[in-house]
Symmetry: C2
Subunit: 392 residues, 2 copies
C-alpha cells in the first residue's frame, strides 16, 4: 500500500498555491500562469519545502495529465486545414529552431571547455520547444486562431519530430553501436503515427462518433474524446515523441465536435492544468544560482536558448510580417520535458556532469518563466494589428 | 525523471477497459460498476497483466482522486439536516456494524487456530465499510435522497470513526507501549475535525463563497469546492480517517451550491471515477482461490463479513421497515482501503501472515463485487415502496 494521505496533502498544497498565485496575478493584471509557476517555486522542495519529493512520480503524472488536457483543448481550437495552410513557415521555423540552438549550443559548450560528447548532449537538450506555456498564454488571450499561433503549434510538431531524430543521432554518436537501426525504427514509428493520425484520424473519429452518440452512455462524445486523447498521448509518448504532441493532435481530430465538448473539458482543464504549472515551478532550485560559475554558464545557455529560437521565428515566419514573426519566435522559446529527458539520459550515461544537468534544468525553467510576460504583450499587439495573410 | 509514457499507457488501458466494461454491462441492463470492476480484474497484473505494477502508486492516487470526487458528488446531494434526522439509526448501525464483524471475526480466526494477535488484526480489518461502491450504486439509481441511503452515508461516518478507535486499540494491545496517549491524541483530532467541519463548515463556506463569487476568476464556486474537497480529504486522511470521509463532508458543506457546480463536477466525475473501480478490480488475484485451504478461510471470512453487516443493518435501522433495514445492511457490506491498511500494517509488524493478508484482500474485493448486483434491486424496491418515516 502506498501512503496516500501525504500525496493528497501535496496535491492540495500545489492546487491551493497555484490558485492563490494565479488569482493574485490576475488581480495585478498579469498572466495567471506566472502566478501559478511562482507559487510552485515557493512551495516546492527547494524553497519552503511544503511539497515533499516522495510523491514526485505521482505529482509528475498529474502534471502531465494537466498539460495533456491543455494541449488537447488547444488542439480543439485548431483545424487540420489551419495547420496545412501554415505548413511552409511552420516547417521552416521548426527546422531552423532545431538547427540554431543545436549549433550555437554545441559551440557555446565547447567554448566553455566542455568535452565534445557533453557539448552535443547539452546542445540536444536545448533544442525541443515545449509548447505548454505558449499554449496557455495563447488560450488565456483567446489568440489560438491567429496566424502566429497556428505557426507556433504546427512548428512545435515539426520541432518535436526533429528533436527525436536529433536525440537518436546524438545518442548514436556517443554510444556508437547498432543504434542506426533503432533510429530508423523510431523514425518509421513516428511517421506512421503521424500519417495515421493526420490522414485517417478525422474520418475514423467521425464514423466512431456516430457509434458513440448512441444514447447508451450520457456524454459519450466527451468521454470518447478523452479516451482518444489519453490513447494518442500514451502512444506518442511510447514512440519517443512528447505525449503532448499526441494530445494536441487528438484535439485537432476532434475539432469538429468542439461545440459539444468544450463545456465538459473546461472543468477537467481547471482541475488538472494548474498542477502542471505549479509542479514545473517547484522544480526550480534557486540555490543553483549561488555558484557564480554555474550561474554564468546557466545565463549564457539561457540567452543562447532564447536568441536562437527568436532568430528561427524571425527568419522562418517572415511571411507573417515582423510582429508576427517575432511572436512566433517568442512562442517557441520555452523548453520543457524533452530537455529534461535528454539531460537525464546524458546524466545517466555519465556524459553530462551534475552541474551541466542543473544548468539545463535552470534553462528550461527560466525560458518557461521568461515567456508569459514577454509573449503576452506581443500576442495582444498581434490581435490588434491588421496582419498580412500567412504564406501557404 | 519518472518514465511517464508507460504510466500513461496504464491509465489509458484502465480507462478504456472500464468504459468498455461499463458500457457492456449497461447494454446488458446490469450496473456499469460491475463491468468496470470486472474489466479491472481482467486487465490487472494478476490476469492478463496489461497494466503493470511499477506505476502502482500513481494508479492508486488517481483511483483515490476518483473515489474522492465520487463521495464529494454524493455529499452534494446530502444536507446536514438529512444526516441529523437519521442520527439515531445511523449511530446504531455504525456501532453494531463495527461490533459484530469484530467479535465474529475474532472468534472465526481463533476457531481456525490462529493466534490471538493475528485474530484481532484480521477482525479489525473486517470492520470498516468503504462506502464508494454503495455510493456509486445509489447515485446511478438516483437514490441518494432515500432514507436508507442517508442512513448508510451517516453510518459510514460513524463506522469510520469507530474503526480508527478500534485500530488504535488493537495496535495498542499488540504493541503495548505509550499508544494510549496516541489513541487519545488521535481521537481528539478526529472529533475536532468533525466538530469544526460540521458546525462551522457550512457558515464559513457560505461567507467565503461570497468572496469567491467576485468575477476575478470564472467558475470560482466550482474551483473553491474542489479546493475544499481536496483539503478536507487530505486532512481526514492525515488524521487517520479515510480521505473519502473528508470528501463526503465537503460535499455536504457545499450542498447549498449544488445547482451551480453539479454540471462542472460531472466531467471530473466521468474522467476520474472509473479509475477507482478499475484499479480496485485489478487488485484481485484469482490465483488465491487455487489453494483450497485459503479458499475456505477466505470464503468463511467473506461470509462472516457480509452477514455481520447485514445483521447490523437489520437491527440498527429497523425504524426504516424491513426492506429499508436490509438495504442499509447491504449498503454497509463493501470493505475497502481501511481494511487494506490495517492488514498491511499487520503484515508489516509480522503479526498477519501472507496468507491471511491475501484472505483480507480477497474479502475486500469479494464484498465489493458482491454488493452492486444485490444492492441494486434492493434499492429499486425501496424507491418504489411507500416507506415509513425514519426514526429521528
Amino acid at each position: 500500500m502506498t501512503e496516500i494521505a501525504p500525496i493528497l496533502v501535496d496535491l492540495f498544497i500545489l492546487f491551493a498555491a497555484a490558485k492563490v498565485g494565479g488569482e493574485l496575478f490576475e488581480y495585478l493584471r498579469q498572466p495567471a500562469v506566472i502566478g501559478e509557476l511562482l507559487a510552485g517555486v515557493l512551495v516546492g522542495p527547494h524553497v519552503f519545502g511544503m511539497v515533499g519529493t516522495e510523491g514526485e512520480p505521482v505529482l509528475e503524472v498529474v502534471a502531465e495529465l494537466g498539460v495533456i488536457i491543455l494541449l488537447f483543448t488547444v488542439g480543439l481550437e485548431t483545424s487540420l486545414a489551419d495547420l496545412r495552410r501554415v505548413g511552409r513557415p511552420a516547417a521552416l521555423v521548426g527546422v531552423l529552431g532545431v538547427l540554431f540552438p543545436f549549433l550555437a549550443g554545441t559551440g557555446l559548450m565547447l567554448g566553455f571547455g566542455r568535452g565534445r560528447e557533453e557539448a552535443l548532449f547539452v546542445a540536444a537538450a536545448m533544442v525541443a520547444t515545449s509548447v505548454g506555456i505558449t499554449a496557455r498564454v495563447l488560450r488565456d488571450l483567446g489568440a489560438v486562431r491567429t496566424a502566429a499561433a497556428r505557426v507556433v503549434l504546427a512548428a512545435a510538431v515539426v520541432d518535436d519530430i526533429l528533436a527525436v531524430i536529433l536525440l537518436s543521432v546524438v545518442a548514436g554518436l556517443t554510444e556508437g553501436d547498432q543504434s542506426r537501426l533503432a533510429l530508423i525504427v523510431s523514425l518509421i514509428q513516428v511517421f506512421a503515427f503521424l500519417g495515421v493520425v493526420v490522414l485517417a484520424g478525422p474520418r475514423l473519429v467521425r464514423r466512431l462518433s456516430g457509434l458513440a452518440h448512441t444514447p447508451v452512455v450520457p456524454r459519450s462524445p466527451f468521454l470518447f474524446a478523452v479516451l482518444v486523447t489519453l490513447g494518442l498521448a500514451a502512444l506518442s509518448g511510447t514512440i519517443g515523441l512528447a505525449s503532448i504532441i499526441g494530445a494536441f493532435l487528438a484535439g485537432v481530430i476532434f475539432e469538429f465536435t468542439r461545440e459539444e465538448i468544450a463545456n465538459q473539458i473546461e472543468p477537467l482543464y481547471e482541475f488538472l492544468v494548474p498542477f502542471f504549472f505549479a509542479v514545473t515551478g517547484s522544480r526550480l532550485d534557486p540555490a543553483v544560482f549561488a555558484d557564480p560559475g554555474i550561474l554564468g554558464v546557466a545565463a549564457a545557455v539561457t540567452v543562447v536558448a532564447v536568441i536562437t529560437k527568436l532568430a528561427a521565428g524571425r527568419l522562418g515566419a517572415g511571411a507573417l510580417g515582423r510582429g508576427g514573426a517575432w511572436t512566433v519566435g517568442l512562442g517557441m522559446v520555452p523548453r520543457g520535458e524533452v530537455g529534461f529527458i535528454v539531460a537525464s539520459l546524458g546524466l545517466g550515461l555519465g556524459i553530462i556532469s551534475a552541474e551541466m544537468f542543473a544548468v539545463v534544468l535552470a534553462m528550461t525553467v527560466l525560458t518557461t518563466l521568461f515567456t508569459p510576460p514577454v509573449l503576452g504583450p506581443a500576442v495582444r499587439r498581434q490581435l490588434k494589428a491588421p496582419r498580412p495573410e500567412e504564406g501557404g
